[in-house]
């Protein structure tokens, strides 16, 4: 498409805001008229040839009503709200999106856009994740953040939000791809993350501002999540989940897919275990993962992570606390389960006191009144 003139940008933005054209129709219009300015001279009959009847009528009517000045005004209004627009063909348009099968016509964004040359990893998974999943997501997000590798995700509840939050906290940046307008924070509970992302990364969406989070918008946005990333890590997914859509898009786009293995009895790990069975790469620790990434993408050596993984290393604790700590897992256990696992028999009272000591020293986490897990 080459370099776009400013004037053309107004037209593309206008076209991109036509909600009825989402799916294949955007592309069909642009293929027929590479210069979007022309579409305003198109006759009604030509529209009908190009599009289904309903959309054709609508578009023709809208084209008649639009004026260059109005489009410019609309564009400037977005800028005033802090929303930018990048069209396909512009220099800033994320390069990786150019080679996916169905690239979006343009992207609305707040904050920044991912850099096309540096590594980016998509971390995806279940909204209602387990403690195990949230631990892995946090750990991975943190390591990626420290390495300066962007985390791409959907800013959803659960794995998405946790990994992005961890990356930001570690000083990295992250990009959230929304299934609604970039001015709509969905879910509301991630309001803080939404605000932080604007300064450290960005919020992206192909949908025009003001679009509400409706279910059918979410599967298409997943192609952008995987499209923006060099590799996709699936942290936790049940057999039937939205994550599987992202995975199939990623494979279609030729992205490397990593799955975090889980216990075969955990329903939330079924999806990941199946991916591994089908040949997905296995994610076991951030170091190994980063090493593989580097080899695959011929990047200069990454500096070793600042925070060594605690894995396998016993914390420096009193003997009785240590034996209790060894009972803990990343899956929450009840006090009774921990009691039964202990060799020495101690009272519930002692057990709870010691568990709370571990919680205070940061070695354990109280998930709910009676459930504890490793911190």
């Amino acid at each position: 498409m080459g370099d776009l003139q400013k004037e053309q940008l107004y037209y593309v933005q206008w076209l991109a805001s036509q909600y009825e054209l989402f799916g294949k129709l955007h592309r069909r219009v642009l293929e027929a008229y590479p210069d979007p300015r022309e579409i305003f001279q198109v006759s009604k009959e030509r529209w009908e040839e190009l599009l289904p009847e309903k959309q054709a009528g609508l578009l023709w009517k809208r084209c008649q009503a639009e004026s260059m000045a109005a489009m410019q005004e609309q564009y400037e209004k977005l800028r005033e709200q802090g929303i930018s627009f990048v069209a396909r063909g512009q220099e800033e348009y994320p390069r990786r999106l150019n080679d996916i099968p169905d690239p979006p016509l343009g992207l609305y964004y707040k904050g920044g856009l991912p850099d096309g040359d540096s590594l980016a990893v998509a971390v995806i998974g279940s909204r209602d994740c387990s403690e195990y999943g949230s631990y892995v997501a946090r750990h991975l997000g943190c390591c990626l953040g420290e390495q300066g590798i962007s985390v791409i995700s959907g800013m959803a509840r659960g794995i998405d939000g946790i990994s992005q939050q961890a990356a930001l906290e570690a000083g990295g940046d992250s990009f959230g791809v929304l299934g609604c307008g970039v001015d709509v924070c969905y879910p509301q509970s991630n309001q803080r993350l939404y605000q932080t992302l604007m300064g450290h990364g960005g919020i992206l969406s192909e949908y025009p501002p003001g679009t509400q989070p409706i279910a059918r918008n979410f599967p298409p946005r997943n192609r952008i999540v995987s499209g923006l990333a060099t590799a996709v890590v699936v942290v936790e997914a049940a057999l039937k989940s939205g994550t599987s859509i992202t995975v199939s898009m990623a494979l279609e786009q030729g992205r490397e897919v990593y799955a975090v293995p889980g216990r075969i009895t955990d329903r939330l790990s079924d999806g990941c275990n199946r991916l591994i069975k089908q040949g997905a790469a296995v994610y076991t620790d951030p170091e190994g993962f980063l090493e593989e990434l580097r080899e695959t993408y011929f990047l200069q050596s990454v500096s070793p992570t600042k925070k060594k993984a605690k894995k396998g290393k016993e914390p420096d604790l009193r003997e009785d606390l240590l034996s209790l700590w060894k009972q803990l897992e990343h899956t929450p256990k009840t006090v009774e389960e921990i009691l039964h696992g202990l060799e020495a028999s101690i009272s519930v009272q002692d057990c709870t006191i010691k568990l709370m000591e571990l919680v205070l020293s940061g070695h354990a986490k109280q998930v709910s009144s009676g459930h504890f897990c490793k911190a």
Binding site: R127, D128, C129, S130, E131, R157, G158, S189, T265, D266, R267, L268, P332, T334, V335, E336, E337, L339, V348, Q349, T352, I353, L355, M356, E357, V359, L360, Q366, V367, S368, S369, G370, H371
Partner: protein, 514 residues
């Protein structure tokens, strides 16, 4: 001719004396009743006339006026049937004047002349004894509850004929016609203790929940139990009254009076066990707090000095739960009517149970399929102000087959009660001369006085406060509960381990975070 008979009226769980005056003169035959009467009392006329006729008494055609004095006190209930009938008989000269002098009468009449049970015998008899009345005749069914009051002769009567014979008899023969009911209060208490059937040793597993229940019972702390269906939440709740110290006589009389007023005493003479009330979640707020056209004590008053168990807490209507706030704070319910205020005591221990999420299995993600918003919405049904009044939260888990098959397990109710009693004794000594009774009552202002923390403990509390993001409220709650844990161990000072254990049971958990 004119006659006056003693009777009594209920005011909440207290009583006041009523004079039933009857005047019979010649004139157009009629019977009129005055004295601020409720509808049951007005209907009394029909019952009395029929009962007298069926008892074989021929009423001469006279102009009869009945007045219940004091005339500005609202009279409710059916207990005036008997005194009105006796008053008429005396006014019409069926027995010598003065035969019924100094005797208090209570009882509902059947049309066949039989005397039926009434509500509130205990408070009325207690009031009568207090003002020096020495004798009373009450329905036979209610005689036992009146008889627990010392210093007054309580006689139970079956029917009107029996009372007539009694009044016509000479002073000496009277005892043989209607014997004075004798009740051994000590015997009743002894019986009460051995009667309790449910024992904590029957609860398998759930060690933390049992420990939590013990702490709650020792300090009269309100308790919340979270757990999947079938984990034994109700089972534990039912056993809590059994590990609380037995009722004292004074407490027992309070409780009995409430049950008597509510008409729920049945044939029991005295409530010797701590009440346990478990209302269904569809309960309305008047049923919970008390009220009605004729005010009666609600469930929270029936739980006085005992346990109120709310199973499936999120299912309760918010309005009904919120109506408990004031009573929980004041430990009494005030029911205001144009006629005046009624006060019912309501000092109960609140035990609630709920599932952690709509399906009940959270945080077991293998079984729980609830989404986070669903869980939050579910927890959001629970009234916040009620949660604020809960000191301890325990979690139960689905019981495995191993623990089901285990034979004897854990402490028995007997052992637990002994520990609780010890802790209660320490509290009684501590709170002598104050308005408090238990650690659960301590207000924030008196926290430093009763829940003193040393330097090390303060450091621990500070760390807890920061690490767990406690609120001021939960900070105080942990101190209160730690005080009870220390009392259970017979320790004078709160130590860090007490604080740590108390912190584990703190109710502000992620489940509630909105």
């Amino acid at each position: 001719m004119y006659s006056t008979i003693l009777s009594g009226a209920l005011l909440g769980i207290h009583a006041s004396m009523v004079q039933v005056e009857v005047d019979a003169t010649s004139g157009l035959p009629s019977m009129s009743m005055v004295g601020s009467l409720g509808s049951e009392v007005r209907e009394s006329r029909e019952r009395v006339m029929a009962a007298l006729k069926n008892a074989g008494i021929d009423i001469p055609p006279k102009h009869v006026t009945v007045n219940l004095s004091p005339a500005d006190l609202r009279k409710e209930g059916t207990a005036y049937d008997l005194p009105i009938a006796i008053g008429m008989l005396e006014a019409l000269g069926f027995f010598p004047e003065g035969s019924a002098k100094g005797i208090l009468f209570l009882g509902e009449l059947g049309l066949n002349g039989e005397i039926r049970a009434v509500r509130g015998v205990l408070p009325i008899v207690r009031e009568a004894a207090a003002i020096g009345i020495s004798e009373c005749i009450v329905p036979e069914v209610n005689a036992a509850e009146g008889a627990v009051i010392p210093g007054i002769r309580v006689q139970g009567a079956k029917d009107l004929e029996q009372v007539m014979v009694f009044l016509l008899a000479k002073e000496k023969e009277r005892e043989s016609i209607l014997p004075v009911k004798k009740v051994s209060v000590e015997g009743l208490f002894r019986q009460g203790i051995t009667q309790s059937g449910n024992d904590f040793s029957e609860v398998k597993g759930q060690e933390t929940a049992k420990r939590g229940a013990k702490i709650a019972a020792a300090g009269f702390h309100n308790l919340l139990m979270l757990g999947p269906p079938g984990a034994g939440k109700s089972m534990i709740a039912k056993r809590i009254p059994g590990i609380m110290p037995p009722l004292t006589l004074e407490e027992s009389l309070e409780v009995t009076a409430i049950y008597s007023v509510a008409g729920q005493l049945g044939d029991r003479a005295l409530m010797t066990q701590r009440p346990f009330q478990s209302p269904h979640h569809t309960i309305s707020s008047p049923a919970l707090t008390g009220g009605g056209v004729i005010p009666r004590p609600g469930i929270i008053s029936l739980s006085h000095r005992g346990v109120l168990f709310l199973d499936e807490l999120p299912e309760f209507q918010r309005a009904s739960l919120d109506s408990m706030r004031q009573p929980m704070e004041d430990k009494q319910v005030q029911i205001t009517r144009t006629g005046g205020n009624l006060i019912y005591p309501s000092d109960f221990m609140l035990v609630c149970a709920m599932n952690p999420c709509p399906c009940g299995y959270f945080p077991d993600r293998n079984r729980c399929r609830c989404t986070e918003p669903q869980i939050k919405r579910y927890a959001g049904h629970v009234s916040g102000p009620i949660l604020d009044r809960i000191d301890l939260c325990v979690e139960l888990q689905a019981v495995g087959v191993e623990s089901l098959q285990k034979e004897a397990c854990g402490e028995s109710s007997e052992e637990m009660r002994k520990q609780v009693e010890k802790a209660r004794k320490i509290q009684m000594e501590r709170f002598q001369g104050t308005a408090y009774r238990f650690n659960g009552d301590i207000q924030a202002a008196d926290m430093d006085r009763f829940c003193y923390l040393g330097e090390a403990e303060k450091r621990c509390m500070k760390k807890l406060y920061e690490e767990m993001g406690l609120s001021a409220r939960s900070y105080h709650r942990i101190r209160k509960v730690a005080r009870t844990i220390a009392d259970l161990q017979g320790e004078d000072r709160i130590r860090t381990e007490h604080l740590l254990e108390a912190a584990m049971y703190r109710p502000a958990q992620e489940v509630w975070k909105t």
